[in-house]
Symmetry: C2
Subunit: 398 residues, 2 copies
């Protein structure tokens, strides 16, 4: 018996044009094929966390990723799903595998420092996977911030680095404020344009107090590409206002949105210019590709740029953590419009999802996604993902 | 004959409750009184730039501001009007005069460094006027960025610092990227709350290329308080979606918006959390006041916090300026939705307004604002603002 969690909407929709979607989306490429067996779309099955890790590591091993890197890459993808950021979790694995296979990301590459000062560093990612570059850069930023008060590291020749808050949190758990940005494939239109000239660039900021923490992870667009890809996987409509179709009108069909790659910026011009600032720092300053230089298809490596900042609050204030707690409580305590819907700080929704996963002791994945990875497993000759049955009964052994 | 420029809409509106507006707005305080003589609202008169400078300096002299500071303060206010940022120009003068009179800003104060590293500094503004603190901090940030690659300066005990791009541009003209942020009086609601728990905090980012420049100056709200105050001064409605009235509904009356102080964030939760990040760095980290600690009335000094960042692109890349030009042209060249309305980079609207002012050789101010400063002039015994007549005919002598 499969555990079907939270029945999802099964809505009538237009038939997906797989060819065009395949062309447009950077994350669903070589490994994505139409399912050839009946799939009950819109339903979800449980996968034990360890099983998800095992499958990811098996696939990466087939791509000759060194064993020393397997743990961090699989953890990074699983944690995204654990926090409810499904667009940047297991969903991304086939894109990474495809890029490794085509040589656009190098399994054995290590980032290197081009030049540095007491507070800054310019890093060449050498086409390593994004998480390898990101972990290296954030550790370097924290090291510099320890004495200089701030560490500012820019990376070029990097790869899609998934959930930005992964790196910002890496600084936060050591007592620093972490700020992370990345540019991305051009997929966002300005309120005055018809074509996408900038990516839905992301920004994450995390900092921890004594009792509370502030963990923001956002894209400059209303929603990021991963959320639309996830809606496509789970057979759900997207709300109007997220993205336009190829004629420029807002659409509620994720396949049309993914084909057109025209996301709407959050806050109109403000979201668009915020994305420009991120690209100026991540792409232009780092010597990576930027704006429309970044290829929308797989003809060449994406050569993304990223910025990692760590700030050492201890060098400014001794009681920063208490002040942060007070700040968070002031935001939390402001009178909600609806008492049933209290004010939430960034990171609280993710905490709620983590509790939900801990109760299940497993990660809920849509059957369509699992079917896709069945094909990937067949192709790579690895054991397919084993579904969790009635073993998931206690929270203790999670 | 007065020069009446661009007739403004004279719309029927509810009678302003001056008492409540006076209580709510931080910028219109002791010096603001209802005009006692007939004012033709909604019309605009010209004032020569030198005359605006002269008037500001005369008023500041009466508040015992040292002569060495007069030039920078008056220039800073006039340049805001010159760039079309009227909410932070002459419009702010009475607020500054009032704060100087009440001791909430100190005319003779100088900022001082509390502690510093190779790349950071913690500055005490000592309640000097915002522009004095801002200029000091940005110069310090640039000095640090020269060697360390980045300068990160946070200031406490600062004052309202007007147009944020003034400081960011100060870094940009020296070849650095300038990033400036400030917290503000709590005046913005989150999409879930009824009360304002955070300011419409501002962010400016400026950087210059060989041919182009990128000069963003924005608030985290849809529009800032200055824009609503300006609409009030010019007797215009504000569009729905800028701010709510006291019952929580969107209003088009600036007086109701200024009474309620509930601006809407740009992009919903995203604008709100961006304002939180700015307050965490500007207020919490700097030891200044933050969130609802900042008083909405004049009972105590506002003790604002600000962050000034300068980045030295030369330490990362030798061809940064060329790459910036290319980036700007990629954004500019993207296909506009309407050919008559080409894509504009941040700073281009301001450039157009500067051309407009240069053509006029004078600054256009609404008569209601000039009437207010007639009263200020009477109170301080300074010569009122002299209006420009048909002298303004040539662009040469501007």
């Amino acid at each position: 018996m499969l555990w079907h969690i939270r029945p999802l909407q099964c809505l009538a929709r237009t038939r997906r044009s797989h060819r065009t979607y395949h062309r447009a989306s950077p994350a669903h490429r070589a490994f994505q094929k139409p399912a050839t067996f009946p799939v009950q779309r819109g339903e979800t099955s449980l996968v034990l966390v360890d099983e998800a890790r095992r499958f990811i590591q098996d696939c990466l091993l087939r791509m000759n990723v060194p064993t020393s890197k397997l743990r961090s890459i699989s953890e990074f993808l699983v944690v995204a799903d654990y926090r409810g950021n499904f667009g940047n979790g297991l969903n991304r694995l086939d894109g990474y595998l495809s890029d490794l296979q085509m040589g656009h990301a190098r399994a054995d590459a290590e980032p290197s420092v081009i030049n540095e000062t007491a507070a800054t560093a310019h890093v060449d990612g050498n086409s390593a996977l994004g998480v390898i570059v990101g972990d290296f850069c954030m550790d370097l930023a924290v090291e510099k911030a320890q004495k200089a008060g701030i560490g500012f590291v820019v990376a070029k020749n990097s790869h899609h680095f998934g959930m930005a808050s992964w790196y910002a949190f890496r600084a936060a758990v050591r007592g620093y404020a972490g700020l992370v940005m990345s540019n991305a494939v051009p997929s966002m239109v300005s309120p005055d344009t018809q074509e996408a000239s900038i990516g839905a660039n992301c920004l994450a900021f995390c900092v921890k107090g004594e009792k509370s923490h502030f963990a923001l992870d956002m894209a400059a667009s209303v929603r990021d590409l991963g959320a639309i890809e996830w809606a496509w996987s789970t057979n759900e409509y997207i709300p109007h206002g997220w993205a336009a179709d190829e004629s420029g009108f807002s659409t509620c069909f994720p396949n049309l949105a993914l084909r057109a790659l025209r996301l709407f910026p959050a806050g109109g011009h403000k979201g668009f210019t915020l994305a420009c600032i991120i690209d100026l720092l991540c792409g232009v300053l780092s010597d990576a590709q930027y704006s429309t230089q970044i290829p929308q298809n797989q003809s060449q490596p994406s050569n993304l740029g990223q910025v990692f900042v760590a700030i050492n609050p201890e060098l400014f204030l001794s009681n920063f953590r208490e002040r942060l707690d007070d700040f968070c409580s002031r935001i939390k305590d402001s009178q909600a419009e609806n008492d049933a819907n209290p004010v939430q700080l960034p990171g609280e929704n993710e905490r709620a999802h983590m509790n939900y996963v801990e109760d299940l002791r497993a990660l809920p994945y849509p059957n369509s996604l699992l079917a896709k990875y069945k094909l990937v497993a067949d192709k790579l000759c690895v054991k397919p993902i084993d579904l969790a049955f009635d073993r998931c009964q206690s929270r203790k052994s999670f």
